[in-house]
């Protein structure tokens, strides 16, 4: 009735179980919902901030009417004379009135109720023309938002699913079902299934967030922003995919060293630092080209660093490809080492397994 399971089939079964059990966890579903809400909120807030060039209502008389029509951002109400314009200001129908006044340099007087209408005054002022030798390609505020966005999403997803893998590894050790599993399928299939299952979940979450952000931007008419961030977002998804597999291998290998859930935190601390460091670096140094440049090539921080540089326009077209190659090679190496630590530590229950023993050959 049974026929030995192929490697691929075994990996698929194990991965399927990981995904099924995670999707059954209420805590996970709620946390994902909250994360989604945060993304929607960020997009909406960004939309409001981006559309701050709202129109100002102004009353004007005489020659000022034609003059103001030429200024963008103003909604001009015609008034028959200065008194009726003033009346409109007092009634609050307009923010200010503009009356021709030959005695001033500009030939206009602005009438307002209590405060100087700064926006209007600026629109009517004459400024010298400015030439920037190195104009920033991105609005610094948007760059900051993008840094926080990439940083938080990477941090939250990597932590959530990294810890899920770690707990799943220790659960199998603690409940000793590992012995049945080891006698049934190859250890490599177990590890691969775990990593792939959780990577698929993490990747799904990232795709959902990216998709939601894109739809949100389109819905709030921020096509411009979407056009700017789109390529960076796409690179982020690609880098995250492989970067997460790397972290997942570290999480599972370090978790395999211990046998109790209470020890998971301590055992996986190195992996946690590797997740936290890029997060803080990108938030504090998003405008520092040197730090970003290094981050974009170090495998652990490349998933955050490279998309950030793509967004800022400071990366050449080939740079993401080189960085991706570096990431792929390191991921392959770490997965091999991790698999060795994992299989060497699985049957060792009780005290924590020493790193040297875990890495040694059986």
């Amino acid at each position: 009735m049974t026929r030995p399971l192929g490697m691929v089939a075994a990996v698929r079964l194990v991965a399927g179980r990981e995904i099924r059990m995670k999707l059954r966890s209420k805590a996970f579903l709620i946390a994902t919902g909250v994360l989604m809400l945060l993304v929607v909120a960020a997009v909406v807030v960004g939309g409001i901030a981006g559309s701050s060039e709202s129109t100002t209502k102004v009353a004007a008389t005489g020659a000022a009417i034609e003059q103001l029509r030429a200024v963008p951002g103003l909604e001009v109400t015609k008034a028959s004379d200065a008194a009726s314009a003033e009346g409109l200001v007092r009634s609050g129908e307009v923010e200010a009135a503009v009356i021709p006044d030959p005695s001033t340099a500009l030939g206009l007087t602005v009438v307002a109720l209590e405060a100087v209408p700064g926006g209007l005054v600026q629109l009517l002022s004459v400024s010298p023309s400015v030439e920037l030798l190195e104009p920033p390609t991105q609005n610094p505020f948007l760059a900051y938002l993008a840094a926080i966005g990439f940083g938080i999403i990477f941090f939250v997803s990597a932590m959530t699913f990294g810890m899920t893998i770690a707990q799943s590894v220790v659960e199998e050790k603690q409940t000793r079902i590992i012995e049945i599993l080891m006698s049934t399928v190859p250890v490599r299939a177990l590890l691969a299934g775990k990593i792939l299952g959780n990577s698929a979940l993490a990747f799904g979450q990232i795709l959902a967030i990216g998709g939601l952000a894109a739809i949100g931007m389109a819905a709030t008419r921020q096509e411009l922003l979407l056009g700017d961030i789109g390529p960076a977002l796409a690179w982020f998804v690609v880098f995250f995919l492989f970067g997460f597999v790397l972290l997942a291998a570290i999480y599972s290998a370090t978790a395999a060293l211990v046998s109790r859930q209470e020890d998971v935190g301590t055992a996986t601390a190195p992996a946690t630092y590797l997740v936290m460091i890029p997060y803080f670096l990108v938030i504090f140094f998003f405008d520092n080209p040197l730090v970003l440049g290094i981050m974009s090539y170090v495998p652990f921080s490349a998933p955050v660093g490279m998309p950030m540089r793509v967004f800022l326009g400071s990366a050449e077209w080939w740079e993401p490809l080189v960085s991706l190659a570096v990431l792929l090679v390191s991921t392959a190496l770490v997965v091999l080492l991790g698999a060795r630590m994992y299989s060497n530590s699985l049957l060792r229950t009780g005290a924590r397994v020493r790193l040297r023993e875990a890495l040694g050959s059986r």
Binding site: R24, T184, L347
Partner: protein
């Protein structure tokens, strides 16, 4: 026939198994007996391929074990473990599929097994919500779901009440009757004595005795007799050809190399009063075990 030949396994400086050889025959239940740390679990892990021996080999019908062959083995480890948050049936089905069963086959086999083990009504309960005895039954179902040709059970009866022991016994017997090779370890020597056809006694990582239960018993039977009368049996001391081992009022155990002398003692006893019991005394498994392990 599952055969271990010259298995050696070291853990660091400690030799856990030293030249261990024995066979588990088809259609028979083999009991694996030994004290704590004798090497039972290590030997079982070697059979299952969870541990790699430093020397020696395990074969099935003369063929070396490959992962493909081993996927037809059923294993119940000493340290019990199933996923606490998974449902019983779901979990057993999952393990069946890991053994290579098609989804529908795994589902059908799970339903049947849970019926046989009186666990059908808890099929949709999570494992952590089961009583210890029921967790044990679920564990046994997990080892049997794929209809294994080789069954290796580490202490399958510990934690079971007498009724559950009988249920599990019946299921194991059914497997053996179908031709499976069944190896189980136990500390409960009375159960081993009742259930198993063959016996392997291990101590200090070495096999001390192996063979059928009856052969072992015969090999360790000395010419001992038990005599139980309603009167005192003090007079046995004065019989020159008998060695009295135990004497407690009307009950006595003696040893003699001459069967005729034992019959003579019976005749004499019957003249003093009614004989309640007389016969050769077979050693219990516990006796053999203590003697072999010493």
């Amino acid at each position: 026939m599952l055969e271990l030949r010259g298995i050696v396994k070291n853990f660091g400086d400690r030799r856990a198994l030293n030249d261990v050889s024995f066979a588990v025959r088809s259609g028979r239940i083999t009991g694996f007996v030994g004290g704590n740390g004798a090497g039972k679990t290590t030997a079982m892990r070697v059979i299952l391929g969870v541990l790699r021996p430093d020397a020696g080999a395990v074969t099935l019908d003369g063929q070396p074990l490959t992962p493909a062959v081993r996927s037809g083995f059923g294993y119940m480890p000493e340290e019990r473990g199933l996923y606490p948050k998974m449902k019983v049936a779901e979990q057993i089905e999952y393990l069946g599929r890991l053994h290579g069963m098609a989804a529908a086959d795994a589902r059908r086999a799970t339903t049947e097994l849970l019926e046989q083990l009186d666990l059908a009504d808890r099929a949709d309960a999570t494992v952590e919500s089961l009583s210890l005895g029921n967790q044990q039954r679920a564990q046994i179902a997990a080892a049997l779901v794929h209809d294994p040709g080789v069954l290796v059970l580490d202490e399958p009866f510990s934690g079971l009440d007498p009724m559950a022991v009988d249920t599990v016994l019946a299921v194991l017997k059914r497997f053996a009757d179908k031709g499976a090779r069944v190896l189980f370890s136990s500390h409960q020597l009375d159960i081993v004595e009742r259930l198993c056809d063959d016996l392997v006694v291990i101590a200090g990582g070495e096999v001390r005795a192996a063979g059928s239960r009856d052969e072992l018993r015969a090999a360790h039977t000395r010419n001992r007799y038990e005599l139980h009368t309603s009167k005192s049996t003090e007079w046995l001391h004065s019989e020159p050809s008998l060695t009295v081992l135990e004497l407690d009022g009307g009950r006595a155990v003696f040893e003699t190399d001459e069967p005729a002398a034992a019959q003579e003692a019976l005749r004499r006893a019957s003249t003093t009063g009614p004989v309640l019991r007389f016969g050769p005394l077979h050693p219990s498994l516990a006796d053999i075990f203590k003697e072999v392990v010493r």
